[in-house]
């Protein structure tokens, strides 16, 4: 059996992944697979306390153990850092207190991992225990402060936005309703645990090979943490085994590996265990939310007020952005006269929360869509009809100043309505079965970078060699979503060559122009546009070289397949030949391009969160059966429609939609990053934190709708995150339909459903 060799694919037949061959044969190298000569192994010493003052760290016993090369502790080891410029609150190794169980306190390097692990277990740390802080939004004075930096007590950040007059809008409404939901936090569970190898070379350069989605930010933050200029740090990313937002900033193990390497003069590898990943976390925030909406007599949204209280965990991470995001995208699906948002993020003594697929928009979307369903019920309207009355149209500006370009939202509604036979079946299913609907939208890249600067968000450099090969360099990171494939395919299409000519260098800060990283679904949009700019530049060099050679005007030069020719003139030359003419004339051929999104329209504080060059849209109908006796919510089928703009790689788009939907299903039904009252994680392993297996997943019908977006490269928007969002509320709404019980907390585990049914049974008996 031969692969339809990807090398032989043309630009027309898009392969799923240009690197699949390596992944199916075991040849793909992930961060923990690469062996460096003379490599040592590191292990972090983590706190067994959720909240405690560090009285002393005793490394002596560990240092004398066999094979130990270096042992370090927090004080003096590194400078504070943090992904948000205003939130530099992290230390690689805790300095005077620990604020979650699992926080790194010290680090060991040894000849083998076994030795490093044994030595790490032998480190003695003396703690003075403090009370854990587990609840967000509790301004009790008696609770100890988690971070000194916080605004008041443990409040990390409070934000308020108002557009239009919400008070009046609510007062004058002909109907209004308030709803609440607690959305549980959850982890990314990328199947590959984080891993890094760092080598502080004797020449002062620090080479880091890490499983990260954001090599550029890791380079920046690591330089800061280590106190060295950025150009001395090189971050390379090997094949990445999934990210979903969980590998989106600098982590303690990355800093520790560099520090240990400096101590022992050898490359140091640190690989996290699955348990470590749950402590490192940065997953979806638990959010308690409240929404109140006033409708006019035509059932149109007159005003909406939305409040969210985020449980941030022990550090800032992306938290400020996350907080704004819980209020940013409600208006991208629904037009409303006035909108108010109040958000708060609180520090607690739990692993820090951060961005996960759908960053900050998933939780509010769940409440908003449940709310819309309840409104429809009150008003006696079909839930989809109520949405139709309120859709934010294409090419419009939302109440919170976001520019919408293309919108396939209405088409998404139509598609899932049709696929699910909604009209024929909804409300006619027997007790225990139900159909539920929800829709949503997401960004195709954040409009502003994390730290302010006027530089491109993504850069691409194309070199064409005299062998006819095309070399594309870009800092983007393929986290498994297929970014490399999209880049190669776009390059081939844009230059009019077959895919086999294209070679990529990506995810390496030393050899590629900066791309900000794989987050906020920005890669296709931004790297894609940068690539098109670079390719256009390169093509004009070649076209002009051909024109010179043939002594015709450049406009006369046309393409026929890979060849260059002159229309009607009989001149024709192959790609490589023209490349050689151009190189002879101009020297080695290179062209570059960058992409910077248009500045956002809004000027208010917080206006940086929400703008995007384009928005994707999604809708979902979930069909569920709820078992009265065992409480299991069986999702029988999902119907998902998504508008990704032009699907540049249709198979990959389908894969993203399915993968996102199933991740959403996990959040709806089973996943919980939850804690015992003493601050211990309920189960930092895959039996305590459960993600869907192949037997938990229903058949999913997928529809891709929409049209090319003028801002997207060849019209593309995004598919990586958006399709997750509507699945959760669609399931919640379907369960309500099936059993008539409103559940106010995720996930809908069978024990929770059973208890709710039992409660109702008792109430009915009374």
């Amino acid at each position: 059996m031969k692969l339809e060799a990807s090398a032989r694919q043309t630009a027309q037949a898009v392969p799923n992944r240009i690197e699949s061959w390596a992944k199916v044969t075991g040849q793909a190298l992930y961060a923990d697979d690469i062996e460096w000569p003379n490599m040592a192994y590191g292990c972090l010493v983590r706190s067994p306390q959720a909240h405690a003052r560090i009285l002393g760290v005793d490394l002596a016993a560990a240092r004398s153990m066999p094979g130990v090369l270096a042992a370090i502790e927090g004080p003096g080891s590194s400078a504070p850092y943090g992904i948000m410029p205003s939130n530099q609150d992290e230390h690689a190794l805790a300095v005077d207190k620990v604020t979650y169980l699992g926080e790194p306190v010290a680090a060991i390097a040894a000849e083998s991992f076994r030795q490093a692990y044994a030595a790490a277990r032998a480190v003695r740390v003396e703690y003075e225990a403090l009370s854990p802080v587990l609840k967000a939004g509790a301004p009790e004075k008696s609770l100890p402060q988690v971070r000194e930096e916080s605004e008041t007590g443990n409040l990390h950040k409070a934000v308020d936005l108002e557009f239009g007059d919400v008070a009046t809008g609510l007062q004058t409404a002909s109907y209004r309703r308030e709803d609440r939901l607690f959305y549980q936090g959850n982890n990314h569970v990328a199947l590959e645990p984080h891993a890094v190898t760092a080598f502080w070379q004797p020449n002062g350069q620090i080479v880091v090979q890490s499983a990260t989605q954001v090599p550029h930010y890791v380079q920046r933050s690591l330089a800061k943490a280590l106190g060295v200029p950025e150009h001395l740090v090189r971050v390379m990313v090997p094949t990445l085994g999934g990210g979903f937002g969980g590998k989106s900033e600098l982590f303690p193990h990355e800093v520790a590996a560099a520090l240990l390497s400096r101590r022992c003069g050898r490359p140091v590898r640190i690989t996290l265990s699955r348990e470590d990943v749950f402590y490192t976390h940065r997953g979806r925030h638990p959010v308690a939310m409240k929404v109140e909406t006033g409708f006019d007599a035509e059932s149109r949204i007159q005003a909406m007020s939305f409040e969210s209280v985020l449980d941030g965990g022990a550090y800032g991470s992306y938290g400020i952005a996350s907080t704004y995001y819980t209020g940013a995208l409600q208006p991208t699906t629904y037009r409303m006269g006035a909108y108010r948002f109040h958000g708060e993020r609180w520090y607690t003594t739990k692993p820090p929360c951060g961005p996960k697929r759908g960053h900050g928009t998933t939780q509010p979307r769940a409440l908003l869509e449940v709310h819309m369903d309840r409104v429809a019920r009150d008003l006696g309207l079909d839930p989809i009809e109520l949405r139709r009355k309120n859709l934010q149209p294409a090419y419009s500006v939302t109440v919170n100043q976001l520019d919408i370009t293309t919108s396939g939202l209405a088409a998404c509604l139509d598609a899932v309505e049709r696929m699910s036979s909604w009209k024929e079946r909804r409300g006619r299913l027997p007790y225990g079965q139900g159909l539920g609907f929800a829709c949503s939208s997401y960004l195709s890249g954040a409009g502003l970078p994390i730290y302010w600067n006027p530089l491109p968000h993504s850069g691409v450099r194309i070199a064409v060699n005299r062998d006819g090969g095309v070399h594309v360099a870009c800092g983007l990171t393929d986290i498994g979503q297929g970014a490399n494939t999209v880049l190669a395919v776009l390059a081939a299409k844009a230059l009019g060559v077959c895919l086999e000519r294209v070679q990529l260098t990506t995810q390496d800060t030393a050899t590629t122009p900066v791309d900000l990283g794989s987050y906020s679904s920005r890669v296709t949009m931004m790297a894609g546009n940068a690539l098109l700019a670079a390719a256009q530049h390169m093509l004009s060099l070649l076209t002009e070289a051909a024109a010179h050679h043939w002594e015709v005007p450049a406009e006369a030069v046309a393409r026929d397949g890979e060849d260059f020719c002159v229309d009607g003139g009989g001149q024709r030359a192959g790609w490589t030949e023209v490349v050689r003419w151009a190189e002879a004339e101009l020297g080695p051929l290179a062209a570059s391009g960058g992409y910077t999104p248009a500045p956002p329209r809004g000027r208010h504080k917080g206006s940086g969160v929400g703008p995007s060059p384009a928005y994707s849209f999604s809708a979902c109908v979930a069909e569920v059966a709820v078992d009265d006796l065992d409480g299991r919510v069986q999702v029988k089928r999902l119907y998902v429609a998504h508008d990704p703009g032009t699907p540049l790689n249709p198979q990959s788009v389908e894969g993203q939609i399915r993968g996102g939907a199933v991740m959403g299903l996990g959040e709806a039904l089973m996943e919980a990053q939850a804690f015992n009252p003493d601050g211990r994680h309920r189960g930092p392993h895959l039996l305590g934190y459960r993600i869907p297996t192949i037997l938990d997943v229903p058949e999913i019908e997928v529809a891709v709708v929409g049209e090319p977006d003028p801002n997207g490269p060849m019209g593309a928007k995004e598919a990586g995150q958006g399709p997750l969002n509507p699945v959760i509320p669609a399931v919640l709404n379907a369960v309500r339909e099936a059993i008539g019980v409103d559940l106010s907390e995720t996930p809908l585990t069978p024990d929770r459903v059973l208890r709710a049914l039992e409660r109702r049974r008792r109430e009915e008996a009374r």
């Binding site: 983590r46 067994p48 306390q49 169980l101 699992g102 991992f113 076994r114 692990y117 277990r121 703690y127 225990a129 690989t271 265990s273 348990e275 078992d627 009265d628 006796l629 065992d630 409480g631 089973m670 003493d678 211990r680 994680h681 309920r682 189960g683 930092p684 392993h685 895959l686 039996l687 305590g688 459960r690 869907p692 297996t693 192949i694 037997l695 938990d696 585990t749 069978p750 024990d751 929770r752 059973l754 208890r755 039992e758």
Partner: protein, 329 residues
């Protein structure tokens, strides 16, 4: 990864060598290791010498004996149990229970003996070492407190083997080897103390499981978080004999709700010889729910686990009815 601390692996080839190896201080039987190996790496289990049972032919056999009973060697894998014609033919509920364990690979590796002897589980103990480092040592780890049941004087960790209730409902007997061989009904094997949950003396091992000739009709049901991989949060098996137009001698066992399987005598009395209407089955389920007293040391919430027992038992009884109808009785 959390590496195992140094230990020896012993691989006896015959019965004598096996018993000799097990008599050594610190020796522990090793079935498929699917529970013991993760337990060792999390410092939950101890053992200086793991004595592998896989190389002892007598423990790997499934034999139909002359009296019509079946003898299942302790080292037979769950995958083999689930597909063996003798089991599928006469003891399908056991095959169902074996198939409900873990996943495909775990069943290819895990043995029936290991499943019966499986360490009890608890949310306050089955955690990686760091998680427990600053937590007071509980009974099962040699301390004097229970985090799951602070008022309890013993460990209430959960017996989590899926085949246990099925074997109990079928009336299976365990054959123990040691200084002297002995046999006992499986329900007498479990002490009720989660820290020392099976009655095996030092040097003893479970050698075989005897399934009775002319077994009753039986059914097994499991309740867990996902459709695969997860341990039971509650499971149940029932059996009865269809005689003279009615179900007789019912046996109702609920497990994974405490350190030992619970026999629901009240439900058995209700069911014996009665007309098994839907309502009766629900009532039997309700009696089972009342008979079990789980603690909040499973993955799913304790109230839910208790309520689920009602449905498990009612459904398992319904399965017996269906089996009877299928056989045209």
């Amino acid at each position: 990864m959390m590496p195992l601390r140094p230990l020896a692996v012993v691989t006896p080839r015959g019965e004598e060598e096996l018993l000799r190896s097990l008599a050594v201080e610190g020796a522990v039987p090793l079935g498929g290791g699917s529970d013991l190996i993760p337990g060792l790496s999390w410092e939950l289990a101890s053992g200086d010498a793991l004595v592998s049972l896989a190389g002892v032919p007598a423990l790997r056999r499934t034999d139909a004996l002359a009296d019509g009973s079946v003898c299942l060697g302790a080292a037979v894998t769950l995958a083999e149990v689930a597909r063996h014609p003798l089991i599928l033919g006469a003891y399908p509920a056991l095959a169902d229970a074996a198939r409900a364990v873990g996943s495909w690979e775990l069943r290819a590796q895990g043995t029936i003996g290991g499943n019966v002897c499986l360490a009890t589980r608890c949310r306050f103990r089955n955690q990686p070492p760091l998680w427990r480092d600053a937590l007071q040592t509980c009974y099962q780890s040699g301390g004097d407190v229970c985090h799951a049941a602070p008022a309890s004087r013993t460990c209430v960790a959960i017996l989590s083997g899926d085949t246990v209730p099925a074997l109990a409902a079928l009336g299976a007997q365990l054959e123990i080897w040691g200084h002297a061989a002995r046999r006992l009904p499986i329900e007498d094997f479990y002490s009720g103390d989660g820290a020392h949950h099976i009655s095996l003396a030092k040097g003893e091992l479970l050698a075989a499981i005897h399934l009775p000739a002319d077994p009753p009709t039986a059914a097994f049901r499991k309740w867990r978080a996902r459709e695969s991989i997860d341990f039971p949060e509650a499971n149940a098996a029932v059996s009865a004999v269809w005689r003279e137009g009615a179900w007789r001698a019912p046996r109702v066992f609920v497990s994974a709700v405490g350190p030992a399987p619970v026999r629901v005598v009240a439900a058995e009395a209700l069911l014996d010889g009665a007309d098994w209407s839907e309502d009766l089955l629900r009532a039997a389920g309700e009696l089972a729910r009342k008979a079990v007293h789980p603690y909040d040391n499973g993955q799913l919430n304790v109230a839910g686990r208790q309520i689920a027992v009602r449905g498990l038992v009612a459904r398992a009884l319904g399965d017996l009815q269906n089996a009877r109808r299928e056989r045209g009785l």
